[in-house]
C-alpha cells in the first residue's frame, strides 16, 4: 500500500488549538491529509487525537486555527458543515438504533427531498453501495441481528451514503475479532482505491505498521511529528508516543505451577429467560500460573468472573477455593477466602468515584484492624496505609484525600491494583485490567500481574485483547457462547487459530484451516 508517488493535499489543519476551560486538549497542531492515503493519528489516551478529529467533524469548534479543504479555507461549526464538506466519521461506539433496519438507520439524519420517505430508492442505493465495496449487507436487516463487525460496516455505509470523501475511523478495531479486523482492513483498502482518504485514530502500533501510509503522533495535545510509515518502526513510534523507551514485550519466566488454588466444576449460569450464559465449565487454576480467558465480549467471561468472585451464584456446579467448597457463597465470603478481583469497570464497580483515594484503598478491609477497632475508624492509620501504597505503586495524586474521580484512568486502575494486591490474596481475578489505559500504565499493570504470578499467586486473566492474553498467559482457555472451546498451553496454537476459535469455529476446523 505504500505508494511512492507524492499525492496531492486534500485537507490541512493549521495551528489547530482546542481549549476546555484551562485545559489545553490540542495545542497548535498542524495536520495534513493527502488524497487517497491512510493516515494514522497515533497517541496515548488523552493525547488529544479524538478531540482533534471531533473538531474536524464539527462536534465542537476549534478554539483557534484554520482548516483548509483542497486549498480553500473552510469553517466547520457543526457536524452538518462537516458532512457538507464530505467529511464522515465512524465512531468507536456505534450510533445505531437496534430496533430499526439498516436502511432506516442510514436515512436518520439525512435530508429528504419532499415530505415522503422513499425507502425503496434508498434501499436500492444502499444495496448498490454495499455491493460495490463488498460489504455483504442486507438493507432490510434489523441492526440487532447483525454482528459487531457488520454493524460497523453499517456505520461506514452511513458515511458513504452521505458522500464522504474523507473518512475518520475512531479506534475502529477495538471491538473486532482478528478476522473482522482483517476484513475491515480489506474494506479500508477498497475505499482508498475508490479515491477516499482515511484518517485512523488509534493507539495500536501494529495497526499503523500494517495498514497505514503515514502517521502523525500526538502527545499531551501537541504534535510530535508526521512521518512515512515505511521510514519508521514500532519502537520508534512507541518512543514518540510515550516520550521515553517502552518495554513492549515483557519477559515471562518459565515456572512450574503449584497446587490447585481455585477449581470450578460443571458450572452453569442462566439469565432470567433461561438462556445459558455459562454452559458447563470445568477448570482448575493453579498457584503461580496465569490462565488467560480469550474470547469476544459477551461470551460469558463476565459471568465467569462473577461466579469466581461470588457476585453471581452458580445454579449448578461446584466452586472450590483450595479445599473449601464455596459454591453459592456471597462476595464477602470470597473476599475473606483471599480472592482478589480487578473488576471490568473500574468506575462503576471497582471504585467509589466520590470517595477519597484512602477510603477507596480500604473498601474491603475497612472494618478490620488496624483500620477499625470496635467499629471506630482509625483515620490516621488509614492515611498512613494510603500514603505507603501511593508511593509503592507510583499513584500520581497530590494527597490521599483527593477523590478518585480526580485521577486519570491509569491512576484509578493503580488504586484498584494496589488495593487488591496489598490484600495478600491467593487468587487474583483480573478482568480487562488494561482496558482504556495508555501504554505506560498498561506496561505497569501487566508487569504487576506477572509479579503476582511469580510470587505464587493464581491469576485468572479475562481479556478481549488477544495480544494481552498471548503476552501474559501460561495457559489459555478460549471461550465461546458460555463454553470453553479448548484449554491449552500458550504457544500451542497460532494467533490466527485462536482467533478462529474465538469466532465460534470448532477447534478441529480452526487448527486445520490456518497453518
Amino acid at each position: 500500500m505504500h505508494t511512492q508517488r507524492k499525492k496531492s493535499l486534500i485537507l490541512k489543519m493549521e495551528g489547530a488549538t482546542k481549549k476546555f476551560g484551562n485545559l489545553i486538549a490540542n495545542d497548535n497542531v498542524n495536520f495534513e491529509l493527502r488524497k487517497g492515503e491512510i493516515h494514522a493519528l497515533l497517541g496515548e489516551n488523552g493525547a488529544g487525537k479524538s478531540t482533534l478529529m471531533n473538531c474536524l467533524y464539527g462536534i465542537f469548534p476549534l478554539t483557534k486555527g484554520k482548516i483548509f479543504l483542497n486549498g480553500k479555507e473552510i469553517v466547520i461549526n457543526n457536524t452538518q458543515d462537516a458532512i457538507k464538506y464530505g467529511i464522515g466519521m465512524v465512531h468507536q461506539h456505534f450510533m445505531l438504533i437496534e430496533q430499526l433496519t439498516v436502511t432506516e438507520n442510514i436515512i436518520l439524519g439525512t435530508k429528504q427531498k419532499g415530505p415522503w420517505l422513499d425507502v425503496k430508492t434508498v434501499e436500492k442505493e444502499i444495496k448498490e453501495l454495499s455491493d460495490k465495496y463488498r460489504f455483504n449487507i442486507d438493507p432490510q436487516e434489523k441492526i440487532k441481528n447483525l454482528t459487531v463487525g457488520m454493524q460497523q460496516r453499517v456505520e461506514i455505509l452511513k458515511t458513504l451514503y452521505r458522500n464522504a470523501d474523507i473518512m475518520i475511523f475512531d479506534e475502529a478495531t477495538a471491538v473486532l475479532t482478528p478476522q473482522e479486523v482483517n476484513q475491515l482492513f480489506g474494506i479500508i483498502r477498497r475505499l482508498v482505491n475508490e479515491g477516499k482518504s482515511i484518517i485512523m485514530i488509534t493507539h495500536k502500533l501494529e495497526e499503523v505498521m500494517e495498514i497505514c501510509d503515514r502517521v502523525t503522533v500526538l502527545r499531551n495535545g501537541r504534535m510530535i511529528g508526521s512521518l512515512e510509515v515505511k521510514d519508521t518502526s514500532p519502537r520508534k513510534l512507541a518512543n514518540m508516543m510515550v516520550g521515553r523507551d517502552v518495554v513492549l514485550d515483557i519477559a515471562r519466566k518459565d515456572k512450574a505451577p503449584g497446587d490447585v488454588a481455585l477449581e470450578i466444576k460443571d458450572i452453569v449460569v442462566k439469565d432470567r429467560h433461561g438462556k445459558h450464559l455459562i454452559d458447563g465449565i470445568t477448570v482448575q487454576l493453579r498457584k503461580g500460573e496465569i490462565l488467560g480467558i480469550a474470547g469476544i465480549d459477551g461470551n460469558g467471561q463476565i459471568e465467569l468472573s462473577g461466579v469466581l468472585t461470588g457476585m453471581i451464584p452458580a445454579k449448578q456446579g461446584k466452586v472450590k477455593i483450595g479445599d473449601d467448597d464455596v459454591s453459592g457463597k456471597k462476595a464477602k465470603h470470597f473476599i475473606d477466602k483471599k480472592v482478589s478481583h480487578i473488576p471490568q469497570d473500574r468506575q462503576k464497580t471497582g471504585l467509589i468515584m466520590e470517595f477519597s483515594v484512602m477510603e477507596n484503598l480500604i473498601l474491603q478491609e475497612h472494618s478490620k484492624s488496624p483500620f477499625c477497632h470496635f467499629g471506630i475508624m482509625n483515620w490516621k492509620e488509614i492515611r498512613r496505609h494510603a500514603d505507603n501504597l501511593i508511593s509503592e505503586y507510583q499513584i500520581k495524586v497530590p494527597n490521599a484525600s483527593v477523590p478518585a474521580k480526580a485521577l486519570s484512568g491509569g491512576n484509578q486502575q493503580k488504586v484498584i491494583l494496589a488495593r487488591e494486591i496489598d490484600r495478600q490474596s491467593n487468587v487474583l481475578i483480573a478482568v480487562q485490567p488494561t482496558r482504556g489505559l495508555d501504554i505506560g500504565a498498561t506496561e505497569y499493570v501487566r508487569s504487576k500481574i506477572l509479579e503476582q504470578r511469580d510470587k505464587g499467586i493464581a491469576v485468572l486473566l479475562i481479556s478481549t485483547e488477544l495480544d494481552e492474553i498471548l503476552a501474559l498467559s501460561d495457559r489459555i482457555a478460549v471461550m465461546y457462547k458460555g463454553k470453553f472451546v479448548d484449554v491449552f498451553k500458550n504457544g500451542k496454537y497460532s494467533r490466527e487459530q485462536i482467533g478462529l476459535m474465538m469466532s465460534g469455529v470448532t477447534k478441529d476446523v480452526a487448527i486445520n484451516n490456518v497453518c
Binding site: 481549549k19 476546555f20 476551560g21 465542537f60 469548534p61 478554539t63 461549526n77 468472585t309 457476585m311 456471597k330 462476595a331 464477602k332 470470597f334 473476599i335 475473606d336 478481583h341 473488576p343 462503576k348 464497580t349 471497582g350 471504585l351 467509589i352 468515584m353 466520590e354 470517595f355 477510603e359 473498601l363 474491603q364 475497612h366 472494618s367 477499625c372 467499629g375 471506630i376 475508624m377 497530590p398 484525600s401 483527593v402 480526580a406
Partner: protein, 347 residues
C-alpha cells in the same frame, strides 16, 4: 481541594438563605409591602422575647429530628420523603401507650412511650425500605403515598378509637405522662436536647464509625460496595431503621412535649419540610442544626409578620423554597458551567 469542597458546603446554604430573603423582599416590594417592616416583625416574632425564642426552639425540634431522618436515609441512597407518615405513626403510638395506665413509674412510662413511638416509625419505614431493597419499587412514590395513609389513619383514630371519651373534638385524652421540661417558660421540653444529641451522633456515625463508612459508600455506589463485600441491602435497611426511629421520635416529642395529647393536624407538615431542611444543610448532620433553626424561625415568626403587615403566613414558604432551590443550583452550577465552556467556548 478538600478545603474548597467544605467551603462550598457552607457557602451555598448561606448564599441560598440570603437569596431567599432577597427574593422575598423583592416580591414584597412589588406587592406594595415594606420588606424591612415585615422582616423585622418576623425576626421579633422569632427572637423578640424569651417566650418567642422558646417557641422557635420548640418548632425547630421536630423539623430537626425529621431533617436528620431524611439525611441518614439519603446518605445511604434512599430518598425517604415519608418522614411525615413515620412521624404520625410515632405520635399515634406514643398516644396509645401514653393514655393507658400500666402501673409503671413516670420515668419508665416516658421511656416506654418513646421506645414504642420510635418502633412505630421504624415499622412504617420498613414498608418502603423492603419494597425498595428487595423488590426495586421506587421509594419516593411509596413513601409519599404512605404519608397520606398515615395522616388519614390519624384522623380516623381521632374520630373513633382514640377520641377522648365523652368529647366531641377530634382529639385524644390527655396523656398520663409528659416529656420532662428543661425550661418552665412556655414548656421547652427535652426534645431539643434529643435533636442536638442526634445530630452530633449522626455526625460521628458518618465520619468515625465503620457503619457510617458503609452508609456513605452505599449511598454513592451500591454496585462497588457489593463487589467489595459490603452488603448494600443490609446497609440501606439499617439506615432506614435509624431514619424511621428519628421520625417516630419527632412524633413522640410533639405529642408528649407540646400538646400533651394527640390532636388533629398536630403536624403542619414537619415531615415534608424535613426534606428541605436536609437539603439546605447540604446533607451535613451539623448543618441540620442551622437549617432546622432557620425553618423554625420562619415558622414561629410568620404569625407576628402577618399581624404587623398583613402578609399571609404562607409567604415564608417563598423564602424557604428559594433558599433550597439556590442550594441545589449552586451545587450543580460548577459542573454546568464547565459543560457550557465545553460547547460554547469562543469560536
Amino acid at each position: 481541594m478538600k478545603i474548597c469542597e467544605s467551603a462550598k458546603k457552607i457557602i451555598s446554604p448561606v448564599v441560598g438563605v440570603f437569596t431567599g430573603i432577597f427574593v422575598g423582599a423583592l416580591i414584597m416590594l412589588i406587592r406594595g409591602f415594606d420588606p424591612l417592616v415585615a422582616y423585622k416583625a418576623l425576626f421579633m416574632g422569632a427572637f423578640g422575647s424569651v417566650d418567642n425564642f422558646i417557641t422557635t426552639l420548640i418548632k425547630t425540634t421536630p423539623l430537626g429530628l425529621t431533617g436528620l431522618a431524611v439525611l441518614i436515609a439519603y446518605r445511604a441512597g434512599i430518598f425517604n420523603i415519608g418522614c411525615e407518615g413515620q412521624l404520625q405513626l410515632g405520635a399515634i403510638m406514643a398516644t396509645v401507650i401514653g393514655v393507658t395506665n400500666y402501673g409503671l413509674s413516670d420515668e419508665m412510662h416516658i421511656i416506654v412511650c418513646i421506645m414504642a413511638a420510635m418502633l412505630a416509625g421504624i415499622m412504617f419505614a420498613m414498608i418502603p425500605a423492603i419494597a425498595k431493597i428487595w423488590r426495586g419499587y421506587n421509594e419516593i412514590v411509596v413513601t409519599m403515598l404512605l404519608n397520606y395513609v398515615a395522616v388519614y389513619f390519624t384522623q380516623f383514630l381521632l374520630q373513633g378509637a382514640l377520641r377522648e371519651p365523652g368529647q366531641m373534638f377530634p382529639q385524644s385524652a390527655r396523656l398520663l405522662v409528659r416529656l420532662p421540661v428543661i425550661f418552665s417558660v412556655k414548656r421547652l421540653h427535652i426534645g431539643i436536647v434529643f435533636f442536638l444529641l442526634a445530630s452530633v451522633f449522626l455526625y460521628l456515625l458518618l465520619n468515625q464509625l465503620s457503619f457510617g463508612f458503609r452508609v456513605r459508600a452505599v449511598g454513592l455506589n451500591p454496585n462497588a460496595c457489593d463487589y467489595a463485600g459490603i452488603s448494600s441491602k443490609r446497609t440501606m435497611l439499617s439506615a432506614m431503621i435509624i431514619s424511621g426511629a428519628l421520625a417516630g421520635l419527632a412524633g413522640a416529642c410533639e405529642v408528649m412535649g407540646v400538646h400533651g395529647r394527640l390532636v388533629e393536624n398536630f403536624s403542619p407538615g414537619y415531615g415534608y419540610d424535613a426534606i428541605a431542611v436536609a437539603l439546605l444543610a447540604n446533607l451535613h448532620p451539623l448543618g441540620v442544626l442551622a437549617s432546622a433553626l432557620f425553618f423554625g424561625v420562619l415558622r414561629s415568626g410568620a404569625a407576628n409578620m402577618q399581624i404587623a403587615t398583613n402578609l399571609p403566613v404562607a409567604f415564608v414558604q417563598i423564602v424557604q423554597g428559594v433558599a433550597v432551590i439556590c442550594v441545589i443550583i449552586l451545587d450543580k452550577l460548577p459542573d454546568y458551567l464547565r459543560s457550557m465552556g465545553r460547547t460554547t467556548n469562543a469560536i
